[in-house]
């Protein structure tokens, strides 16, 4: 099988699957069981200085569901570790000693002054941990105290703290970014300037998952009140993928290793993050939903896919999709497709018709016997019918060949690509040579 081992910013791990800093990595008992289940590494639940924080004693989580009560998004108001610092350090040391081949990264969050960092870093070093992750992402509670995302939202602070850390430890330093900002490239660049060995993202997204309509209060409700929490799970994956790609595409940070986080649940999710530039991936919600055992599927699936495609190691696939992440203005406007409905697979539910007829381009016809067909003269190839069809592979997009005439526009499909930058309707267009 393909070699799944990685060397991520100097941190070695037998596979790219790490547990993200969160309850699954909260204590020795969990982490030992996680390693026994096959996880390649963990980022230990964020440590802070004593006196340790406390958590609410009512519910911490809210959730949204898909069909069949499948958990799609989780919202939490948990803080960093609520156990004494020394207890965590002792446990980290004991686990690392017994699992020397696994990646042991310790997440940290201390106040924004150099003294605090100088205090905690040697203590972590002493455990034999492989690296630290700076939690600049926690969007609730800690941010009210000037830490977590309160730091992560100010690039200057990120740079400053990262520099302190690099000056005060030999351990590799990963900076964990918050998605609760407008341009993810800025904090990544700041981390890079500060000397970070890598970035990891995303932390959780500010959210309210639901409102209790009897109490008129957000969920989870603590004695009649709620606070926004951090959103994670499958629902955030698209946001995370984009942010990872933005950093990987940015020439300033192109060489900065990325640990991808956000909604990773299966081998395929992981492969997608890796293709967009991640050198390792971290998982939280999926483990919290299904247990540690899911890593077995991730390992077998990623290995099988790599074998089938002839990819021999993780480096060979890391960032392979980055060159294909472009901007809208560079997309080929001469690429023309039409939706095609496979009548053998069609179950005649009519969802494509509703979508196209009511909200799109009236490009699907419906006969009295519920046969649905695409009207090429109207189809703009938007893909909505493909997306709403319940049968995978029933509606597909078929590429028109150069020389064919698009019945919608009456124009012959051209072989040469042409994009918006040269389009006659673009006031700023530059004439093609």
């Amino acid at each position: 099988m393909a070699d799944l081992s990685i060397n991520f910013a100097g941190i070695k791990s037998p596979n790219p699957f790490w547990l993200a800093s969160a309850p699954p990595t909260d204590k020795e008992y969990n982490v030992r069981r996680a390693f026994d289940a096959g996880w390649g590494g963990v980022v230990w639940k964020t440590l802070g200085l004593d006196p340790h924080v406390v958590n609410v004693n009512g519910p911490r989580y809210g959730a949204i569901y898909g069909a069949d009560r499948r958990l799609l998004g989780l919202n939490n108001i948990e803080l960093i570790t609520d156990r004494p610092l020394q207890t965590n350090l002792d446990e980290i040391k004991a686990v690392k000693r017994d699992y020397p081949d696994r990646a042991m990264v310790v997440s940290l969050m201390v106040p924004c002054d150099e003294k605090s960092w100088k205090t905690i870093l040697p203590m972590v070093e002493e455990t034999g941990a492989d690296g630290v992750e700076l939690n600049f992402g926690c969007p609730h509670g800690m941010s009210e105290r000037g830490m977590g995302s309160a730091v992560g939202q100010v690039p200057e602070y990120i740079e400053m703290v990262t520099r302190w850390v690099k000056q005060n430890t030999r351990m590799p330093c990963i900076v964990k970014l918050t998605p609760n900002i407008t341009d993810i490239r800025k904090p990544a660049e700041a981390a890079h300037r500060g000397g970070a060995d890598a970035v990891s993202l995303i932390n959780t997204i500010n959210s309210i998952t639901s409102v209790n309509l009897d109490l008129f209060a957000p969920e989870p409700t603590i004695d009649g009140k709620g606070a926004h929490g951090g959103y994670c799970g499958p629902a955030v994956k698209p946001i995370a993928l984009n942010m990872v790609a933005e950093i990987a595409r940015n020439p300033v940070t192109a060489d900065l290793p990325i640990s991808g986080i956000g909604g990773i649940t299966t081998w395929r999710d992981a492969a997608e993050f890796i293709a967009l530039g991640a050198g390792s991936v971290q998982v939280c919600t999926a483990a919290m939903t299904y247990g540690f055992k899911i890593v077995e599927e991730m390992i077998s699936g990623l290995g099988q896919w790599m074998d089938e495609k002839g990819h021999t190691n993780i480096d060979a696939i890391t960032g392979r999709a980055v060159p294909n992440c472009s901007d809208w203005q560079n997309l080929n406007l001469n690429y023309v497709t039409k939706a095609r409905i496979d009548q053998d697979l069609c179950i005649s539910c009519g969802r494509c018709f509703a979508a196209c007829e009511d909200t799109s381009h009236q490009a699907i016809s419906m006969s009295a016997d519920r046969t649905f067909e695409v009207i090429d003269e109207e189809c703009v190839a938007c893909n909505l019918c493909v997306n709403v069809c319940p049968v995978e592979g029933c509606i597909t997009m078929e590429e028109m060949k150069p020389g064919e005439v698009d019945p919608r526009t009456g124009r012959t499909v051209e072989a040469e690509p042409a994009d918006w930058t040269t389009h006659p309707n673009n006031p700023a267009s530059v004439a093609a040579e």
Binding site: T266, Y290, G291, E296, E297, S300, G301, Q304, V391
Partner: protein
Amino acid sequence: MADGAPQSGISANRLEAEDYHANFADLYPPLDRHEAHVASDRCYFCYDAPCVTACPTAIDIPLFIRQIATDTPEAAARTIFSQNILGGMCARVCPTEQLCEEACVREAAEGKPVQIGRLQRYATDTLMAADVHPFTRAAATGKRVAVVGAGPAGLSAAHRLALHGHDVTILDAKPKAGGLNEYGIAAYKTPDNFAQREVDWLLQIGGISVEHERALGRDTTLEQLRNDFDAVFLGIGLSGTNALGIPGDDLENVQDAVDFIDQLRQANAKADIPIGRDVVVIGGGMTAVDAAVQSRLLGAETVTIVYRRGQDGMSASGKEQDHATHEGVHLKCNAQPVALHGDGAVREVEFEYTTQSGGQLVGTGERFRLPADQVFVAIGQTLGETGLELDGRKIAVGAGGRTTLDGVWAGGDCASGGDDLTVTAVAEGRDAAEDIHAMLSGGE
């Protein structure tokens, strides 16, 4: 042939040619990719899942279903085969309604379990269709093991032993390998020569030679095998059957059900098999159901299973019973045969109603007769002679399938403990192989 009143007596070609084809096609056709995805989506990936506990081979069911859901059925197949090398056959023949699917939490929640058996078939078919054998043999150990019987128990043991690098010789009394997979299982559960295809696929591991038509007791002895090999595994199943032992049981067209099914499975054309117009099957297990259903599928007009206890005592599962009644088989319970009547050939079977009295099954004295051109007897199978110590009517085995004779292991239908099921035979064969391997590796 189908026109007019059905002829009495025994006759081949009762149906149109295409009817045979339809009747003996796959009972539960394979899932396609879409169906498999929808079905796999229902699995909750339970912790310490009850379905795994319920599977005699302890296949990691939630894992393989998740692997199907994530579009890696080949990985799913590996998960299955690592525990159960006959996972393909088991997917077709296991009474899942009494095993994994009965334990599925969605059975408790909605009365609709995840379709574990059919998903297992989807995964194993995918890998086998690619003709991939997912395991490689360990370096040869030079140790030699004799496996007697090429049924599920023997094949499973042989594969695991070969995997560990031992050289295996299988001896089987029959001309084809597979045991009851080849000669017993209902034809519509394993069409298209699947049993032989599976044997060929399994043997790709290497290191296994099969000697057909070599019977222990006839062509060799246990002593001889113990001398010639480092260990012996017996997976000889139950080669004998119980006889009725009542007046008339020697009449023509009174046949053992297992023999009838054997004949049916081996027939080149199902149309060639003569079948009665009125068929009576005596017994209450899977063999009785299979003989009865297949009689109907061959064109018998009336087929009646008569069982001496109440319906809830039948060892055939509820699903099997439903299948039988769906195919037009009558179930008659609480009646035992007392005599068969006829003149040369059987014409009628005479029964007496039964009741429970003081924990005993007794006749009520009230009798009735059923017309019968053909009678199939399915009242249990018996162990052939081995000279080994018995536990009840089977070879006594302890942990790891050890018999009381040094260097001899046994598993499957011939050994004590466990249900008489394909999957149980696979589990016992595998576990005995591990025990043999531990012994041969100097574990003790």
